[in-house]
Symmetry: C2
Subunit: 244 residues, 2 copies
DNA sequence: CGAACACTTGATGGTCCTCAAGTCGAGTGG
DNA sequence: CCACTCGACTTGAGGACCATCAAGTGTTCG
């Protein structure tokens, strides 16, 4: 049975990857139990971020990658005219900061959408530990590759699809990722505003709102402000069959 | 002085990374000369791909990453309805196949736009050689991170900008990448069709054509079919100041 | 209770897609 | 050498979709 997601989980954590409450995600996935024990060497620090605060900002020198222990993040680019555009929403178990490795400076702001906690992992430690833990290097490559594929999927959405399909795709994506984390996939609260969703999907907040209403009128979802109930998940997924 | 780009270079290559004709790109960039000598161990095979043929297809099991020695590629996703959407264009010195690491299967088709040649590099060899060549792992991480940042830049374009700015951004990007490879940045032939540009930019081929005409009318470029002359590069770049 | 904020809904207009009719250039065969 | 063809490209007309502007509702929290 799925539990409803708690917005700001007050879990007491054990400072160890082996005992991490998260399911098989993060750097740990696919590693042997002995290897997992070594992972604790990686974590330089754990850090709490309050709602609205940032973990890092675009242009800050790259210092570490971060594994999200709890809470949602958004990553947003700052355009030259001062506006922001959201590049992604990030859940517990996912990594932040990969965009900073190439240039040595982060490309995005990473902002907590609710009280959150992260594990800071200096990249050089991962690269060093990779000498001992054979599968670790590969696991990091997988994570980065998945990020590339995820971004490409967004590019497909933004490039070709109408507003309704974009929102449907967004909801299906959120639902799947909740599901993978043991949360209810069909009954959840969105941690972001309509404006943020619109920024992510290349739409205005008004259009997002209208599309929520339309999906509701089609009996695919039930909307009450930020609370979403998915009534017909296969119907939703049918909306994005042309999207892969 | 810049040389004009030859569409299908008939270079004789020395089968060695140390003697590679490409400038500081690919896995080599930033490595010491001794380390570069070791890179040859990585290259499993060199392969020629003719125009229109594919290096790999979406769904093929992940076998290797590829460094482009010569020729242009496009990478395209196949949508469920059979249409294709182009995720990127790729030049000599860039890597292909990074999207296959995460899932173990390539996510795109990689198709040569002209006669091309690649170096096939099994990922496990990179991961093994990383134990001896300290900086190699980091260099791969940089490359993957740069790919993420590049994709994000496209997302910004697709999400927020009008057709004219998208095309201007495309041209500036191509121009910069030519420049980095020693080719003329303001006088070149595009190796792709209007339709392919449109697929990449989220536009129809008609709109791409219209925007070429408009940029020409504004005296920013000169268009003759696929041959482009950049008349006012700073004017072009001014069009995307709101884009970062 | 009022203020601030997030959200919804309506009216209007601009941008880009669609459909359609050309033009241009390269390659082929008579 | 010229006609023919085919694919790539250009240009025009009309319409769909979404952005913009605007007004109003709902919720939260001091």
């Amino acid at each position: 049975m799925h539990k409803r997601r708690e917005p700001a989980p007050a879990e007491q954590y054990t400072a160890s990857c082996a005992n991490c409450v998260l399911p098989e995600l993060c750097l740990r996935a696919g590693l042997s139990p002995e290897d997992v024990k070594q992972l604790d060497q990686l974590v330089y620090a754990r850090r709490k971020i309050r709602r609205g605060e940032d973990l890092y900002r675009a242009g800050y020198p790259f210092a570490a990658i971060y594994a999200i222990r709890s809470g949602f993040f958004k990553s947003e680019r700052v355009l030259k005219d001062g506006r922001h555009q959201i590049m992604g929403f990030h859940m517990p178990g996912e990594m932040l900061g990969l965009d900073g490795i190439g240039t040595g400076a982060y490309a995005c702001n990473a902002v907590a959408l609710e009280l959150a906690e992260v594990c800071a992992i200096p990249l050089y430690r991962v690269e060093e530990l990779s000498h001992q833990v054979r599968d670790l290097a590969h696991r990091l490559h997988q994570i980065m590759s998945e990020e590339i594929v995820r971004d490409q999927r967004v590019m497909v959405l933004l490039g070709g699809r109408g507003a309704e399909a974009r929102l449907a795709s967004f909801l299906v994506d959120i639902s799947h990722r909740f599901s993978a984390r043991g949360y209810a996939p069909a009954d959840f609260d969105l941690p972001m505003t309509r404006e943020e969703i619109g920024s992510y999907l290349g739409l205005t907040l008004e259009t997002v709102s209208r599309m929520f209403s339309r999906l509701q009128a089609e009996n695919l979802i039930k909307v009450q402000q930020r609370h979403i109930r998915v009534l017909d998940s296969s119907g939703l997924e049918r909306m994005l069959e042309t999207v892969v």
